[in-house]
Amino acid sequence: MNRSAAQSAAQHNPELLQDAWTCQGCGKCTAVCPVSRTGLGFSPRRLIQKAVQDNVDTVLPDRALYACLGCDRCTQVCKSGISISGLMLKLRALAYKQGIAGKPAHAGVLQSLMRIMASGSAAPQNRLEWLDSSLSVADQGDVLYFVGCAPYFETVFNYLGVQPLRTARNAIRLLNHIGIKPVLLPDERCCGHDLLWLGDVDNFKKLAERNLTQIKAAQARTVVFSCPEGLRTFKLDYPRYFGSLEFEVLHISEFLTSGTNGQLKPGALSTRVAYHDPCRLGRHLGIYDPPRKLLESIPGLELVEMKHTREAATCCGGTCWIECGAAVKSLQNERLDEARSTKADRLVTACPKCDIHLRCALVNAESDTGPAITNIVDLVAESLRLTEPAKPRKAAKHTRKGGEAYAG
């Protein structure tokens, strides 16, 4: 790249392009980008060069800005150490201010839900109706379990047969099993991950402030997540906007295997599983080993690795509920093929969104044979006989959303 041109562009937009002007144009980012591989014309290198050499405004209406999944595969190989997903966040925030946003998937239901949660009108929510007497929770305490969007996902994606609330129940059961009564926030909000990645920084901040206030009132010292996106947002994004956190944030697989909180000893389960690394947990936060350690501690369980694993794992194809299309579907099908080739009984993931996206691809595939997609929390709870095995819920294929039949 022409350095003087880059420097003048960087001076023009110093905050925005402070990293990007060091781009050497080597193209490694495009070579490893899973979306570029689908052949639909997306190239992170082109986007960066366009942003630096031309005016930034020419990049903002470009659809390519929203094709990026933020999986951070490119950031890992970048010789100049550019955080390309970080640059995307900045560009999207700029675009959003000009009224440009990605095309929402699922008719924008999820974005609207998050914005309603960010506004003052949605209080108090009925978000803990799924708790039953077998689950012990507290109002205040050291350990807080952040449920995330599971109650909403359960409703919106019911037609796919996913059960995010089953995962939430099982997470509480596992914590109860090691003698911990977790705190649950009755008016918890979305962590704001999806709005931040969409560029809607104002609403993200509103959500974050509400969560931080409530966690402070609950006097929690450790916040446990079963959702990697929530964990990433709390660990990396909240400190950027609100300063360092007063509590520790951990993924549930870290919490259960750390030993300081009472080591969990799972029961026996005879099965062969492949583990899918969620991008936010793996590449964003570097948590590769705790989930594997948890799986390997199950006697009788055989853990196999897929072709692309750990740092090289492919993304499930979902970012912030935007731009779901051919590229994303082909990524999901590739991942399912990798899982099939391992002859595993189950494809285990630690992220509710990976579960939703991969299951969607499985439902829409011509032959929906494939490993059962299971959340790691559910699998561990199953090994301890704390929960019933998941009943196969057949997804509705022919209606848009499998609601209750209209009776006339």
Partner: protein, 144 residues
């Protein structure tokens, strides 16, 4: 870019906008999603000055995203108006609308909003409209 490479490119189509929904321009804050056939069959459709009517080719086009977006942007009430099962030109418009209204009501319930924020009314062949009861299911309890 096109000048430097010499290639001709189709102009960038502005596709980033969401479905434009008219927003409660009226003081009552009522947003209506209506099938045009149903609207034509109603005896008096001169309500447009007081409510915001979004015309759809069939009420099967409505989705929970539209309903939620209307509420997000300040609607006090959302009315989904379509043809009943016997008069729908597209056969299952009422069924599809029912599913979407039910989904929206379930979400409103979890959000702590009034679930009757959205109502479904179906118009019969002779122009009388009937409100359809849509029960929200709430969050599913674990099967015992």
């Amino acid at each position: 870019m096109s000048e430097t490479t010499g290639r001709r490119r189709a102009p960038v189509r502005k596709r980033n906008k969401q479905i434009p929904i008219g927003f409660p321009r009226s003081e009552h804050g009522i947003v209506v999603f209506a099938c045009i056939s149903a609207l034509n069959r109603l005896p008096d459709t001169s309500t447009e000055n007081t409510v915001e009517v979004n015309r759809l080719m069939c009420i099967g086009r409505v989705n929970a995203g539209m309903i939620l977006e209307a509420v997000e942007k300040g609607a006090q009430k959302v009315l989904v108006l379509g043809c009943d099962e016997s008069s729908c030109r597209h056969q299952n418009g009422a069924q599809l609308a029912f599913e979407q209204v039910q989904l929206a009501r379930n979400l409103f319930h979890t959000l702590g909003l009034e679930s009757n924020l959205v109502t479904l009314e179906l118009v019969s062949r002779n122009g009388t409209s009937v409100s359809v009861p849509v029960q929200e299911a709430g969050v599913q309890k674990e099967p015992s």
